[in-house]
């Protein structure tokens, strides 16, 4: 066990964690404010990847333009889902929300197959971020370093938005006291639509950013990540962004170290942690006590 190996296992864990965080952030935000467990969040991730890819193709292969435009298209999808479907089940029990959002998962998986085909599509590389750097004698992709930086920046931005801005205050107010906020003149339905669309955008950006690293786009690519994002959201405390960020870091590092040093248990570790959290601290790291 040498330093080179240890550093690279850490780096791998950090980048894995930050990929999960990017997806879990939107999921957590939507749950925290709207109280909806959105299964279709993985679909937004997938759609973000595909739309960014198509935008990139249409606009001369510029990755950054694709990253800007693709997720905006997905936002429109998120808007339609919230405004015309989800809004009608807020008052119903959780299983109805899960059923509805799961229906969208199936719908979007098939939609992607119809539009982009069932086969996998190779992804383009990112100009300026495509190489690897030598860290202690072993190469690490520049793109993953970029993700390790982007993750905390997104976390910081979200924190500032929620805690430091006027919008953030309204969002917090509406999420804790829906009726009271409405009574003092907050247009809660419009606010919820806005938050849902923003959460959708976060998921779509996560998908668009994941593609260059995974190396390909496939229908159903959202299914694996959404489970990890859910685990992260649960152990962090459902609805807590701080908890989700920490949870993503822990899960990323746990899976990296687990695969390297406890390979027989790598699949269990994450779920053992989740089970332990649910048993002894069911509200998660930073969730409200239940």
């Amino acid at each position: 066990m040498n330093l080179e190996s240890l550093v690279h296992v850490c780096l791998a864990g950090l980048s894995t964690g930050m990929f999960i965080w990017l997806v879990a952030s939107g999921l957590t935000l939507i749950f925290g404010v709207l109280g909806v467990l959105n299964f279709a969040h993985g679909s937004f991730y997938m759609l973000g990847a595909y739309c960014a890819f198509t935008a990139l193709k249409l606009m001369g292969g510029n990755f950054w333009l694709g990253l800007l435009v693709g997720p905006l298209v997905v936002c429109a999808v998120g808007f339609v889902i919230e405004r015309f479907f989800l809004r009608h089940v807020y008052g119903l029990e959780l299983p109805y929300q899960l059923l509805l959002t799961f229906a969208f998962v199936l719908l979007f998986d098939n939609l992607v197959k119809i539009i982009w085909g069932a086969g996998s599509i190779g992804s383009p590389s990112v100009p300026g971020l495509s190489g690897s750097v030598n860290i202690l004698g072993r190469f690490f992709p520049v793109y993953n370093l970029f993700i390790i930086v982007v993750g905390p920046l997104v976390a910081l931005g979200l924190w500032a938005l929620i805690e430091k801005t006027w919008y953030g205050r309204i969002i917090r107010a509406a999420s804790t006291e829906r009726e009271m906020a409405a009574a003092i003149g907050v247009r809660v339905p419009a606010l919820f639509t806005g938050v849902f669309v923003f959460g959708t955008w976060l998921g779509a950006v996560g998908g668009a950013l994941a593609v260059p690293y995974i190396g390909l786009l496939t229908p159903g690519m959202g299914e694996a990540i959404i489970i990890e994002a859910f685990v992260v959201a649960v152990i962090g405390g459902l609805g807590s962004l701080k908890g989700a960020f920490l949870g993503a870091l822990v899960i990323g590092l746990l899976s990296s170290f687990g695969t390297r040093f406890l390979p027989a248990f790598d699949m269990f570790l994450t779920f053992i942690l989740m089970a332990a959290v649910l048993l002894w601290r069911p509200q998660g790291f930073f969730g409200k006590a239940v």
């Binding site: 190996s5 690279h8 296992v9 791998a12 864990g13 980048s15 894995t16 990929f19 998986d109 197959k113 085909g117 069932a118 086969g119 996998s120 599509i121 190779g122 690897s132 072993r138 190469f139 690490f140 992709p141 793109y143 993953n144 994941a210 690293y213 995974i214 190396g215 390909l216 496939t218 229908p219 159903g220 690519m221 299914e223 694996a224 990540i225 899976s255 990296s256 687990g258 695969t259 390297r260 390979p263 790598d266 699949m267």
Partner: protein
Amino acid sequence: MGNNGWTRRRFIQAGLLTTGAAALGVGVTRPTGLWAATPKIKGPIKVGYQAIMSGTLAGYGEFHKMGVTLAMEEINAGGGIAGNKLEVEFRDSTLKAPEAIQNARYFVDSWGADFLGGVDSSGQALALAPVMAELDRILIVTHAATEKLTEEQVFKNGIKQIFRICTPTYQDGNAAAFVAKDLPAATWATISPKYEYGYTCWDMFKNTLTKLKPGVSFTAESWAPFGTTDFRSHINTILDAKPEGLYSTEWAGELITMVRQAGQAGLFKSIKHVMFPVGAAMDVLEGLGADMPDNVWISGRYFFLYPNNSTNNDWVQRFRKRWNHYPAYVSETGYSAMFALKKAVEAAGSKETKAVIQALEGMTMDSPAGQRVFRKEDHQAMYDVPWGLTVASDKYPFKIMGKQILVPAKECFNRPPFEGEGTRPPF
């Protein structure tokens, strides 16, 4: 059929049918000679075909479908199977065993399938075996590769309803060892799928290579669960072990992802001898394009440039004309499975399971992949697929096999009775 199997009525029916068909004329039904002689077959011939059509591997299902559909179109344009129309229904296998069993039951009990085909996962194939015995329908496996299916379920347990038309893990494990023995690498490691297929291939590779080249050692293994998109930790395990050779049965999108990430980590610079038993799959070659390194050993269940003869080349042309794709290996095995059924049904003069099993056992057929023989004992199709080194080509936007080594099936396939001396290579 007993002496009194032919009643007078049936004899007259057969005669009437023959006369009727003759009266309709050649252009209408094109009855073959056999058709007239086999009134027992009441068409259409129905094949229930299942493959993975959802999730990240949905592309494989599409390629299965293309091959099978092309075969169906060609067979029906040429007069069908013994004069009967071939009908195929496809269902999504989802890669889950319970779903595969449900599909099989639906096909036979509700849809009235005469034969079944397809199946991608080894776990599914093993779970289906007893069900096929119970349903008493032939299943031609076109992708699932575990040797346990044919060695244990067919040979040992006597489930005669299962046949396999694709190369099994012998190609991935044994043949790979024959190639590896001549490489200057004494230490090997693997990143492979964390399920039946991955385990059984690595075991076979280790056992056979140890026999061929005593002194070789195996220094690290890292098992990636199904659906892995981040191979970084696995790659770290391999780089820490510093082997001279890397063997990996990762396949499809996960192989694409692993090769990209291994390239970024500089793995191909530090490990010179790399073997991908299913790297010659079209989705992998096309998906990676120039990102597939040169001089990597790849193989598969079929590669569209082998054999270089008119049967294969014509087929590749027809396939490209119909689908605008190069055929994937599951396209070839699906296509050939339909023609295997056609040949066997026509030879048996019946579509009854028992008669067709007898016709298939030991049957020789020409196919795009070359000549296949269904081994009588274990129902495994014997045919040769090369291993080759990746190389860039002006003619294709992806890497192809350059230098090739052919380990013939009869040299690298385990032999019945699969236990004891002389049943495992080298022979």
